[in-house]
Symmetry: C2
């Protein structure tokens, strides 16, 4: 018997993956969580029926949500990751020697615990790293009570429905602005330009009301809807396109590089058009 997992990525298109084994499923207080083993992508974390990460292609998303901001900031010491309970973004953050403390604020403890159990390659930085602090809390509440603390904040959220809805709102970007230091930078994952044009347009417009520098960049993630993913950066001072490439360190990455840092801001015309 062949088992296939199918995610409807929109009401009209989906990805389907052959499963070798279902490792774990549960209803957490926040969402349905499944850990499955797929033939193509290895182990896969699925929340509310949406692929969050897989062992095979996670490097793209986790490198690209982290290193662009961390190499744009000249000296990132205090870094906050909101969401991202699988630990992949934090793993990339602590590759930067300048980082003194990387804080993960994830609302769902079960995401953290099951990732530690089933995704050791991805969650490795969540245990036993003295520079990493893991907090189980609402990211919105955490940011609201914080002022001028962080150099970089990464919003590694699920889709903008269910628990993550408030992470795509103007008020949240204002709170992030206040939680950042005077030259801080934020990056949020902002879905697919092929399937989520309206969301991208709205988030970009909202962030531009808050941050002096707002830029969108792209990366190719096979297991995400359409395969093309966007990230939106809000920056108080530093322009990611002005970084000197020679200053970008080698970090053992598989997708990101000094070249890619610059190239990802050159947007296909239809993406550039939807920001105007």
């Amino acid at each position: 018997m062949e088992l296939w997992y199918t995610e409807k990525q929109t009401p009209h298109v989906g990805i389907t993956c052959k499963i070798s084994r279902t490792l774990h499923t549960e209803q957490t207080p926040y969402q349905h969580l499944a850990m499955i083993d797929t033939e193509q992508f290895g182990r896969m974390l699925v929340l509310d029926g949406m692929v969050m990460t897989t062992v095979q292609d996670e490097f793209v998303y986790h490198e690209m949500i982290s290193h662009v901001a961390l190499n744009t900031h000249p000296n990132p010491e205090q870094v906050l990751v909101i969401g991202g309970g699988d630990g992949g973004a934090i793993r990339e953050v602590v590759k930067h020697a300048s980082v003194k403390k990387a804080t993960l604020v994830e609302i769902d403890a079960r995401v953290i615990e099951t990732s530690k159990e089933y995704l050791p390659e991805i969650s490795s930085a969540l245990s036993g790293n003295p520079r990493v602090e893991v907090v189980v809390d609402d990211g919105i509440a955490h940011v609201k009570k914080t002022r001028g603390v962080y150099d970089v904040i990464l919003v590694d959220s699920t889709e903008p429905i269910g628990p993550a809805e408030g992470l795509f709102a103007l008020d949240f970007y204002r709170d992030i602005f206040a939680a950042l230091k005077d030259d801080g930078i934020m990056v949020a994952q902002t879905e697919s330009p092929f399937f989520n044009a309206d969301l991208i347009r709205r988030v970009y417009k909202d962030m531009r009301r808050v941050f002096p520098i707002t830029k969108l960049y792209l990366a190719a993630v096979p297991t995400y809807p359409s395969g093309l993913w966007s990230f939106t950066m809000g920056s108080k001072r530093w322009d990611p396109e002005q970084v000197e490439e020679e200053k970008i360190p080698a970090l053992g990455t598989k997708y990101y590089s000094a070249d890619i840092h610059k190239a990802v801001f050159k947007l296909p015309r239809f993406v550039r058009d939807l920001l105007e």
Copy 2:
């Protein structure tokens, strides 16, 4: 009743699309051909169970297989498209004022005829354009009998199984080299770096044995396996990365631009690594 079309893109992963209507199916002398109407991507041409093109996302592939080479060559006049019976590449080729003749050599007349009938937006240049010649013939045979004729040759093939197998071979690249003028350029579609690393590596190596300049570039095509697609360029003289951006004309494109022309050669590290 909901109907979904599912393509197994590898033995372990697939794309599935909701169908509003099946417009046409047939077994041609070369392959199984289906024209279906999908909710997400509009009309879709499927050959041997693989998505070839859709009305919604065809612009990416057709612009990117054409304009990079046509803007790298300083004066492309004679252009050959091998395969590409849907007409999308030819439609982009004739946007260039310098092009005096664009020849399409497609082995399967039924692809041309059904594209004219069901995909008018894509096939528009195949009828009534005095600069376009449509030839129903084997691309390999056509190239073999041609010497020093073309400025640009585009290999717009299906996957390297079935009728297109010979379009991914060293001998074919040698014949293309001979069919090009002294400063000619070829581009071939070369599959996904996530799923077809071995093919990309082999084609790149083979082309490098034939052409002094060989470069790979990428574009995001949602309906193709993994969503990330590669093109390999072989050039006798002109380097696509040395083109002056100011000289690149506006061509009414939705993906390609002068910016994108340069950026697509900046490869993710894992892609760069597989070429070394």
